[in-house]
Symmetry: C2
Subunit: 127 residues, 2 copies
DNA sequence: ACATTAATGATATCGTATTATCGTTATCAG
DNA sequence: CTGATAACGATAATACGATATCATTAATGT
């Protein structure tokens, strides 16, 4: 095997412990001490997608983010200050009544945005 | 004045008649007969944003889309077949209860996806 | 007619996220 | 030790949306 075949394990561990989906850069930063290169991060993320272990989350105006595939249906909160994305629990009902006649909905996404706990309590302000 | 100062009017007319927000490319295609260039489209869109006449809508994995600013709060349906985006009327309630303690929500977005009326009735299938 | 100005189109350039290339290095088998 | 293999890092290349540049042309005023 190659030099550090445990990078994959490290990435999985970081993703598993995260409060929400992480981007490739987030992961590289989280593992900066190990000296991991961005190419390696993308490689493992790609493998994870093919293997079905990871899912990709796209939010408006940001890079692709990734999280373990074995999570129940949920949505996201994006902090406008620190750009972090947090998983939310639960799902609002009543979405079906928004669907126009003749349309067929098979997915939905709910994205809340505002300031996260840390940014609120540290008083960071939008400018 | 310049050659065709009515491009702006044309763009506004197309946006006003559209079933949802349009991208710069959508607009160029809609006005293809006029020979409008993509630079002109972007120029007028940019002006519209500065003037507050237009708003920008970003959906995951797509280009920026634009629509008139004088519309009531609403959400979107994106067709996975033809990629068109449609305005929806109404807004599901109960989003506040998704906000974790200590977080402050100031915006939300709801995006439904599936197949639009035309793609359903014409039998186009996802592959 | 002539000069001025503003709008335009072609295209070059940019920014950013992502992927591909390739030489290097660690690990392992014989 | 030697050769093969797989993982790696640096970085070149790509994709694509958006912007900047610049010469051209239409409308306007004189």
């Amino acid at each position: 095997m190659g030099r550090h075949s445990d990078y994959r394990r490290l990435i999985w561990r970081v993703l598993g412990a995260a409060a929400g989906p992480l981007s490739a850069e987030d992961l590289r930063d989280a593992l900066a001490e190990t000296g991991i290169g961005i190419a390696t991060v993308y490689r493992h993320l790609k493998d994870g997608l093919s293997d079905g272990d990871l899912v990709c989350v796209e939010l408006p105006g940001g890079p692709k983010r990734f999280e373990p595939a074995d999570q129940p249906h949920h949505h996201y909160f994006e902090c406008v200050e620190c750009q972090a994305v947090f998983d939310l629990v639960g799902c609002p009902g009543g979405l079906d009544r928004l669907v126009p006649p003749g349309f067929e909905m098979d997915r939905h996404e709910v994205i809340l945005s505002g300031r996260c706990h840390d940014c609120v309590s540290s008083g960071r302000e939008a400018n």
